[in-house]
């Protein structure tokens, strides 16, 4: 299949592996920020082709995993109300809140519906004017343009029975939070190609300079990732700390300017709590004053954040790259996809789910 098979070619993959082995002289730790890349790495076994000196750490790039418990509890609380249709992406349905999840809420009679696009939620609002339709908006800068367009259309078309429970998060503040942690082990980053397709990569340049770490904007196929790692190692070996673009077939330096313009209008940066990590300043996208009427927290009450309760789940450390999923004592023992202790074991982008599904103690 064109545009897929050429990026999964075994011969080229092994050529990259040989090149990497040749240029790597020192141990390097590289973090892929995006959970989609984590899954591709585990699914295709990209990590098994790397020289021993290179360690891949998996970053916080799973928006479902970092959505705080209190926001999920709020979504569940709203979904239980009569005359409400709660909509969200499929991944969000099984993520545990403090006592239950949205799928169980649906089974208990709540009207919870999976949608593939926020526009489908808006269509539901049009079709059910007697109901309040709420879209639980999760995602990084990748899904924010679609949310922005949807709420903009709702406002333009005067659809008043639609609102957003916003859990959007931003990548650069999270990367800075990881880099500024005292025990940070990361030498270089693979930046998420799809985030950069929207945002461009200029915002990573000051971070690369400030912390002296290279960034390589990287795609999602196995050869993309191998090439991204090779470019990152080449920078590290040469003592460079620049922002380079491996994913040039999809990413331009300035990103998608019209999407960014709409996002800037609809969203305003806000402090956001990350599950397992804590609050990161200005790391969330909240609705701007112009669109604040569409904020579900205005209609159904504000989310009240408590202290994170201590838990056996170490997903916070996994999300910060401090440990790998199989280093958690509960992994595969008391925590599995059927009985997850944390969101990283549930989401299709969660690092623990990837390890469980593709590795689970099996050493290839």
């Amino acid at each position: 299949m064109r545009y897929i098979d050429e990026y999964r070619d075994p011969q080229t993959a092994h050529e990259y592996a040989e090149l990497l082995a040749k240029i790597t002289t020192r141990p390097w730790t590289i973090m892929e920020v995006c959970g989609g890349q984590t899954h591709a790495i585990l699914k295709f076994g990209v990590d098994t082709l790397l020289p021993d000196k290179i360690t891949l750490l998996h970053g916080p790039g799973c928006p479902v995993c970092v959505t705080p418990v209190e926001l999920i509890d709020k979504a569940i609380e709203i979904a239980r109300l009569p005359n409400v249709i709660m909509t969200t992406f499929g991944d969000m349905m099984r993520v545990p809140g403090s006592s239950t999840d949205l799928l169980a809420t649906k089974a208990a009679g709540g009207d919870v519906r999976m949608v593939y696009s926020p526009m489908d939620a808006l269509k539901l609002a049009q079709a059910h004017p007697e109901k309040q339709v709420v879209f639980f908006a999760v995602g990084f800068e990748t899904t924010m343009p679609a949310t922005a367009m949807t709420v903009h259309l709702a406002k333009t078309m005067g659809i008043a029975n639609f609102s957003l429970l916003v859990a959007h998060v931003l990548v650069p503040p999270a990367v800075e939070a990881i880099l500024s942690a005292p025990d940070c082990r990361v030498n270089g980053f693979l930046a998420a190609g799809h985030v950069c397709a929207v945002m461009g990569y200029e915002e990573y340049i000051p971070i690369a300079q400030k912390y002296r770490v290279p960034f390589v904007v990287t795609g999602f196929e196995p050869l993309d990732i191998l090439q991204g790692i090779t470019m990152c190692v080449a920078q590290l070996e040469a003592g460079r700390a620049e922002v380079e673009n491996q994913y040039a077939r999809a990413v331009q330096r300035e990103g998608n300017t019209s999407a960014k313009a709409l996002m800037t209008r609809v969203f305003a940066p806000t402090h956001r709590r990350w599950r397992g990590i804590g609050e990161i300043p200005l790391s969330g996208g909240g609705l701007s004053a112009e669109y604040a009427d569409y904020d579900a927290e205005r209609r159904f009450g504000k989310v009240i954040y408590g202290d994170e309760t201590a838990s056996e789940c170490l997903s916070g450390q996994v999300l910060q790259g401090l440990i790998k999923p199989d280093q958690c004592p509960a992994f595969g023992v008391r925590c599995n996809p059927e009985h997850p202790l944390g969101a990283t074991m549930v989401s299709s982008e969660g690092a623990c789910a990837a390890y469980y599904r593709y590795r689970k103690g099996h050493t290839p």
Partner: protein, 345 residues
């Protein structure tokens, strides 16, 4: 033109455009439905509380319920699926399907024309598969308590050979043959789902498999185990056999055929074809010396024309399956947790 094309719904549609609770109530309306629709369509149904038929030797029996939504999809409908699914379960036991029961749970308000179309589909599919529908049942539930129509079919088949076709028969070095490309049924259903609809020319692979399976047996292929790849797709079939046979199965992902359109849909929706449902595909574990004979036989049948070798039984950890990824690295194959898609069969 088939023998079934000239029929039209025998229930007076003007009087009863929809199924009523009384159609399952045991009275005159139910009697009319049974006699004018079911008996007219299923000529082998016994006029009694049960069917009686002679039988000798080893038999296989299986049952399955069908709740697919939408009721009609590209390449089939709930009626054809209810026959193919049970016929194929018998085929996977190495049996020749002979008899089916059909039990339907109808939702009050179901259009009579829809019921007629499904009943006709069941009758035609059973006829094409060479199985007789010999007994049945109908119940009607309140509007909102069903989803149009649910069907249960139970099948009985005869086993005319001495092979023990089961996971415990699989042996070291046996070869895994896949009967064709995977993922068509799941993608065809998904393409018509409310909220996901997308345009595709993919049709369900739903079809009967007993003829190519019996051809394998008749040709003398040492068939150890068969499994049709329905819910959970290829992965579930392989993992289940690894577990129940306590063997290690290793697959080669690059050898597994997936149509470009199925791959494309999966890439867009974030799904893995290895987990997508099929209704006309199976895997066969055969003796390694019989592989080319098995492929020759399968390639002579339309339903299995794409058969190919995808893996073998190896000396890895028993009870689990592994797969070589397209870039040549190895990983485990793990069954899916939860559901990738609701109600596809």
């Amino acid at each position: 033109m088939t023998a079934f094309d000239h029929f039209s719904c025998p229930i007076p549609i003007n009087e009863y455009p929809q199924v009523l609770l009384a159609h399952g109530g045991g009275g005159k309306l139910m009697n009319m439905l049974i006699h004018q629709m079911f008996r007219a369509s299923f000529p082998h149904v016994a006029d009694h509380d049960g069917a009686v038929m002679p039988m000798t030797g080893k038999i296989a029996m299986t049952t399955d319920s069908y709740v697919v939504r939408p009721l009609f999809f590209a390449g089939g409908d709930i009626g054809s699926l209810a026959v193919h699914g049970t016929v194929n379960d018998l085929a996977m036991c190495g049996a020749i399907p002979k008899y089916l029961s059909v039990a339907m749970i109808l939702e009050e308000g179901l259009p009579m024309e829809t019921l007629w179309a499904v009943v006709q589909s069941i009758a035609k599919t059973a006829h094409d598969c060479g199985v007789s529908i010999i007994t049945g049942d109908t119940k009607v539930v309140d509007r909102g308590k069903g989803d149009g129509i649910f069907i249960n079919t139970t099948g009985i088949g005869i086993i005319p050979h001495d092979l023990t076709i089961a996971p415990t028969s699989v042996q070291m070095d046996d070869v895994v043959i896949l009967s064709g490309d995977i993922g068509r049924h799941g993608v065809a259903i998904m393409a018509q789902r409310e909220g996901i609809e997308f345009e595709t020319t993919i049709t369900s692979d739903s079809c009967p498999l007993h003829i190519p399976v019996m051809a394998l047996v008749e040709a003398g292929v040492r068939v150890r185990c068969l499994r049709d790849l329905t819910r959970g797709g290829l992965t579930s079939g392989v993992c289940e056999i690894a577990k129940s046979g306590n063997i290690h199965i290793h697959l080669n992902e690059s050898a597994i055929p997936v149509a470009d359109e199925v791959r494309g849909a999966c890439e867009i929706l974030g799904l893995d074809p290895l987990y997508i449902a099929n209704e006309g595909r199976f895997i066969a574990f055969v003796h390694r010396d019989d592989v080319s004979l098995a492929l020759d036989v399968l390639h002579r049948h339309e339903a299995t024309a794409g058969a190919c070798v995808i893996g073998r039984v190896t000396d890895g950890r028993a009870g689990m399956a592994t797969i070589t990824s397209p870039i040549g690295a190895e990983r485990i194959l793990e069954m899916f947790s939860g559901e990738q898609l609701p109600r596809i069969c």
